[in-house]
């Protein structure tokens, strides 16, 4: 019992860190809303959306979900599978382009 008590006492963090992350998430959400408000278009819009998205996701995972303080054994088990998702995104993006191409091609040129 003494052991678990010791384990828990070392697990709390200063309240300041949570309030900081909370505030940052609000500010970042506000900025990503401004991207739509000012109707940025094209590459600027997409890169800003992705930048704010990954920053918010990173802050939530690192501090709210405590990954920053976890051991590498669990952090790596959780993060490496994301590379499979990234590969899947790449594959399906290429596939989507090809589907669009073949749709337009056969709609307008037709199968000879």
């Amino acid at each position: 019992m003494n052991d678990t008590e010791k384990k828990q006492s070392s697990s709390t963090h200063n309240i300041g860190i949570y309030l900081w992350i909370w505030g940052l998430l609000f500010v970042l959400s506000f900025f990503s809303y401004l991207v739509d408000w000012y109707q940025f278009q094209g590459l600027l819009r997409w890169s800003l959306i992705l930048f704010f998205m990954f920053l918010k996701a990173g802050l939530i995972m690192m501090f709210f979900m405590h990954l920053f303080w976890e051991r590498y054994a669990i952090v790596n088990v959780l993060l490496w599978p994301m590379t499979a998702i990234a590969c899947f995104v790449g594959l399906m993006f290429a596939e989507g382009q090809y589907t669009l191409f073949s749709r337009l091609f056969y709609f307008f040129v037709g199968a000879e």
């Binding site: 052991d3 828990q8 909370w22 609000f26 739509d36 590498y72 054994a73 669990i74 995104v89 669009l100």
Partner: protein, 236 residues
């Protein structure tokens, strides 16, 4: 949060520590409660489910020759007679982030065994989640009134409706389940189940504040998924 000092000896940090943890012929996730490890594995599998939805949305949107409905017009809301783009979605985002913050503080106070603060913050999180679901119901009914269906909509590409209902519906389902559990755990905290070590359901193990952290992981994950849905579905 894992503790570097357990089982009587100090664990090494970083990649060297990871190699030793993995090769130690004992538990791999040292200092991590088993329930937390299992919640993380579940969240990983859930990540894959949501990724499949968002990837199929990307593929559907990239491959249609019909123009995609403009989300900042579709999801605009009239405030004082002026259409404000994404107004409801922005409020929903802020509500969910607020509830994520209260949950993070609930976990902190739980570990400090501050029953009162922990209970109130879990309850506040539950109410935030309930508000979110309520606004989503409003959003759905508004769009259904405007004629959005999974197979057609008046704004553009027909695929829009099916992706919208599937992705936001699955997320809303996660939020609803989370709200139910938040209310149950708020009761458990206030009733002092973690001080008395009352057993949970389906288990002989005694309750502990680590359960609040596990619940918190789930709730932050729901917020995390919303970050991606907000970026890809509403802003893109």
């Amino acid at each position: 949060m894992s503790d570097p000092k357990i089982e009587g000896f100090e664990l090494k940090p970083g990649f060297k520590g990871m190699a030793e943890d993995t090769a130690s012929d004992q538990t791999m996730f040292k200092g991590v409660h088993w329930g937390k490890a299992m919640m993380w594995i579940f969240l990983l599998s859930d990540t894959f489910v949501f990724s499949c939805f968002l990837i199929s949305y990307m593929k559907g949107r990239a491959s249609t020759p019909v123009e995609w409905p403009n989300p900042s017009e579709v999801f605009a809301l009239n405030a004082f007679g002026v259409p404000v783009p994404l107004l409801l979605i922005a409020i929903m985002t802020f509500v969910l982030i607020t509830s994520s913050g209260t949950m993070a503080l609930a976990v902190k106070y739980g570990y400090e065994k501050n029953k009162k603060m922990c209970g109130w913050l879990v309850l506040a999180t539950a109410i935030g989640g309930l508000t979110f679901v309520g606004m989503q119901v409003f959003e759905w009914s508004k769009l259904i009134h405007e004629g959005v269906r999974p197979w057609e909509n008046p704004f553009g590409a027909a695929q829009f409706g099916s992706f919208f209902f599937m992705i936001t519906g699955f997320h809303g389902f996660h939020v609803s389940i989370g709200v139910i559990f938040l209310f149950i755990y708020a009761y458990k905290v206030f009733a002092g189940h973690y001080e008395s070590g009352k057993k949970g359901w389906f288990t002989k193990l005694k309750g502990d504040y680590v359960e609040i952290e596990i619940l918190g992981l789930y709730w932050h994950f729901v917020d995390l998924v919303w970050v991606f849905i907000f970026a890809f579905f509403y802003l893109w």
